[in-house]
């Protein structure tokens, strides 16, 4: 993913870059403001393109199935896709919900509500589930869920999973016959024995504990299923009546609301105390007091000892300012011709002064006399001073060095002291 994210999307690149093309890196003639805008556009476009690509790749690679325990869309061994598909093939719509509010919205008397692993649900959420009108199937509930939704059953330990006979008088269960059982065990609560609660698939030890309890609560059937394997893909194809049991438990109504609790679903506001409720009362006031101290300290430090005194500042202009500006212009315009002409003229002026040539002598005369005085070849000096102007950086630098060398040669041989090579005139 990161590789994809680093590469800008080609479509966005072209739309973000202005029409004048790939020179967005800042050609010298372009104003800096526009340059920056182009850069911002370019980066923004690249980021947007990367996002789109990531999204597309994510959407394409995301499987149609999910993973997760007892998910109706999960095809993994612990998923429940098989039973959900069988139910759908029978015309029973399976709808997966994640929150209790959705449960309250979707459930009706014509739908069975399956509650998968209700662990650590708050009372308000359990209340919402309890308020649903349709039949309820609780898969491996924890104690609070059990107490609230199926008070006729009590948790009674766990046992190894195995196949077992129903051993009870409930027709819908006995019709399924031997099925996957074990897991969490339940016992009928005191006072529930007289009610219509039925215990099936008893544990091997004693017949008062079993992994399936059917009862009636609030006028609707509530099934407590201790063995989640009954609904799982891995055991649905078992040779016994597991599949039949699952379908008989879930298929009693025209639809199924499959509630897979989302751990992130907040229970209620009153349950989670805020930070301010957790800290001691004294700390809160101390913090307020410290804020007051901070304000007072600002007042203390912020008060100036008298108003500011104005200082009339002088103008600051560097004397070489115009000259530096000219140098920058030369560089920007790559004015090789102008720069080399200036260097040559100034050097010839100095040479003429040193060789006692009148100021109005022609450059050729000065060059000839310089060649004579220095012993350098006249053709070389002519090329240096009168040849074509250089056309690139290297040529210009070489020319400057040649001029300096020629001047040094003349200075070395001429006995007469003259002005320094740096200044054409010197102080006069």
């Amino acid at each position: 993913m990161t590789v994809v994210a680093g590469r800008p999307g080609p479509a966005d690149l072209t739309s973000a870059t202005p029409a004048d093309g790939p020179a967005a890196g800042g050609s010298p003639g372009r104003p800096p403001g526009r340059d920056r805008r182009t850069r911002v556009l370019l980066w923004g476009g690249a980021a947007a393109g990367a996002l789109v690509l990531v999204g597309l790749v994510g959407a394409l690679t995301t499987p149609r199935t999910t993973s997760g325990d007892l998910e109706p869309t999960s095809a993994s061994p612990d998923g429940a896709r098989a039973v959900a598909q069988i139910l759908q093939r029978q015309g029973i719509a399976v709808e997966t919900v994640r929150t209790t509010t959705q449960v309250a919205e979707r459930s009706s008397a014509l739908r069975t509500t399956v509650v998968v692993h209700p662990v650590l649900r708050g009372p308000e959420q359990l209340d919402r589930v309890a308020a649903t009108p349709g039949p309820l199937v609780l898969v491996d509930p924890d104690l609070p869920a059990l107490e609230r939704l199926a008070p006729f059953a009590e948790a009674a330990g766990v046992t190894d999973a195995r196949a077992a006979e129903p051993a009870c008088s409930q027709p819908s269960v006995t019709a399924a016959g031997s099925a996957r059982a074990g897991g969490s065990l339940y016992r009928l609560a005191d006072g529930a024995r007289q009610a219509s609660a039925v215990l099936c698939y008893p544990a091997p030890g004693g017949s008062d504990r079993g992994s399936l309890v059917l009862g009636t609560e609030n006028g609707r059937t509530v099934v407590v299923l201790g063995q989640a394997d009954v609904l799982r893909n891995s055991h649905l194809a078992d040779a016994d009546g597991t599949a039949a049991l699952a379908l008989r438990l879930l298929g009693t109504r025209a639809g199924v609301v499959w509630y897979v609790p989302d751990p992130a679903e907040l229970s209620t506001s009153q349950e989670a105390p805020t930070l301010s409720e957790l800290v001691p009362r004294g700390v809160r006031f101390v913090v307020w007091q410290l804020a007051l101290v901070a304000v007072l300290a600002m007042l203390w430090r912020g008060r100036r000892l008298g108003r500011l005194v104005t200082e009339p500042l002088p103008v600051v202009v560097r004397s070489t300012e115009t000259q530096e500006g000219r140098a920058r212009l030369y560089r920007r315009a790559k004015a090789y011709g102008r720069a080399s002409a200036t260097l040559r003229t100034a050097a010839l002026r100095r040479l003429a002064r040193r060789l006692d040539v009148p100021a109005d002598a022609s450059p050729a005369t000065v060059v000839a006399l310089a060649a004579q005085a220095s012993g350098l070849g006249q053709t070389a000096l002519t090329a240096t001073f009168l040849g074509p102007a250089p056309t690139d950086d290297r040529g210009l630098v070489r020319l400057a060095d040649e001029i300096a060398a020629a001047e040094a040669a003349v200075t070395a041989t001429s006995s007469r002291p003259g002005p320094a090579p740096g200044s054409p005139g010197g102080a006069r």
Partner: protein, 430 residues
């Protein structure tokens, strides 16, 4: 009104009761306590309105030296005033420590001294002294700015003073006090004296020798009572900085050395500072009063960002000079400014006067002109040499018009100008 550091400390102490008995009552109660203490302290503090500040007059000083600025605080109120007083000088006055501890009992006065080492030439001002009167609890203070205007005039430093003795010695050589004299056009007869070995035989006065029957020579001395007018250009080109100081300051230095030398040589020195109008002038001051008058006139001058109007300047010069004089223009040799401004009108000066132009050169230009290495440096060198060529061209034009041009870096311009003056003097061209 102002708080002291004790107020937040007192508020901080409120943490203890708040921890022991948390509640809004404690919080508000402690805040009220602090407020009450502050108000009581304010009411008990001595009133700064009852104070008056008198500043002792300050003279002037050369840039680079220090001064003691004193003021007296008088308490006319019924209560003692304790706290701080701040002497609010401008930053460039260089006050090392502006704040003084203040403790003036009722009806008494105290004197405070601030040491100033100004960092810039010109008038450094102070408008007020700020008094902060702290209450007896030290929690709160009453603050007031008391008017106490003052001015310290900072004069040009005249660092080229060190060149003066050697130039005066050269002047004495010219002055007939030395034996060897050559008669020149601009020299005048001084005296007759006996010939001694080494005297130039050409200076023997044969007529006097015949009368005295001893060999007698004439001595000469340079002319005296000539006029020298120094024109200081205060336009934009003088604002440019070389190193840390504007060109104008270097030009002032050169002007001061020339004025000191010329006044010792018996010439009359006047000064004119101008850009579009005459900014300062010193006229008709002779003897010991000249240099103080000059520095006093120069002290408040700063270069303005205006173009010099040479028509006005030349007009002012001609108006002031009736006899032939040496006119020294202290202006930067900026090709564009001079070609358009000075060159068209300079003939009006050279027709009647000896004109010299002294310019403060920037040594950085020569440095940059010699730079080599890469294309960047060579372009820079080309630009520097271009400006040098421009200066040469305008120098040639000025020379053709009869102006002597001096172009030297800040530290060597004053002696160069003095030497130029001495050369003119020796040649009798004044």
């Amino acid at each position: 009104m102002a708080l002291t550091g004790r107020v937040p400390l007192l508020a901080l102490a409120g943490v203890v009761p708040l921890w022991l008995a948390p509640g809004w009552a404690t919080f508000v109660g402690w805040a009220l306590l602090v407020l009450l203490a502050v108000v009581a302290d304010l009411l008990l503090a001595g009133s700064p309105k009852a104070l008056t500040v008198e500043r002792e007059p300050l003279g002037s000083l050369r840039l680079g030296s220090g001064a003691q600025a004193s003021f007296v605080v008088t308490n006319r109120g019924p209560r003692r005033v304790r706290g701080v007083v701040r002497d609010a000088w401008q930053p460039s006055a260089g006050a090392a420590d502006q704040r003084h501890r203040l403790d003036v009992p009722a009806g008494q006065r105290r004197r405070f001294t601030t040491r100033l080492v100004p960092t810039r030439r010109g008038d450094r001002l102070v408008e007020h002294a700020v008094v902060r009167s702290v209450g007896p609890l030290g929690l709160a203070a009453r603050q007031r700015a008391l008017p106490a205007p003052g001015r310290l005039r900072v004069l040009p430093p005249f660092t080229s003073r060190k060149h003066l003795p050697s130039r005066l010695a050269r002047l004495r050589e010219l002055d007939g006090k030395a034996a060897v004299q050559v008669r020149g056009q601009g020299t005048e007869f001084d005296s007759l004296r006996d010939y001694v070995d080494g005297d130039d035989v050409r200076s023997i006065d044969w007529r006097a020798t015949a009368r005295r029957q001893q060999v007698v020579v004439r001595t000469w001395r340079p002319e005296r009572d000539r006029r020298v007018l120094i024109v200081l250009d205060t336009s934009r080109t003088s604002a440019a900085r070389i190193g840390d100081a504007p060109r104008l300051d270097a030009a002032m230095d050169a002007a001061l050395l020339l004025a000191a030398l010329a006044s010792r040589a018996g010439d009359r020195v006047d000064l004119l500072a101008a850009d579009r109008r005459v900014r300062a002038r010193v006229e008709g001051v002779t003897g010991g009063g000249l240099l103080p008058a000059l520095v006093e006139a120069m002290a408040p001058l700063d270069a303005d960002l205006v173009e010099a109007d040479w028509t006005v300047v030349v007009g002012a010069v001609r108006q002031r000079l009736t006899q032939r004089a040496l006119v020294v223009l202290l202006t930067p040799l900026e090709a564009a400014a001079l070609e358009e401004g000075l060159l068209p009108v300079v003939q009006q000066l050279t027709r009647h006067h000896q004109v010299g132009l002294a310019s403060v050169a920037d040594p950085q230009v020569a440095e940059q002109a010699a730079a080599r290495g890469d294309a960047y440096a060579v372009f820079g060198a080309a630009a520097a040499q271009r400006s040098q060529l421009d200066r040469l061209a305008v120098t040639a034009e000025l020379t053709r018009a009869g102006v002597d041009v001096l172009d030297a870096p800040p530290e060597s311009l004053p002696p160069a100008l003095a030497d130029h003056y001495l050369a003119l003097k020796a040649a009798g061209r004044l």
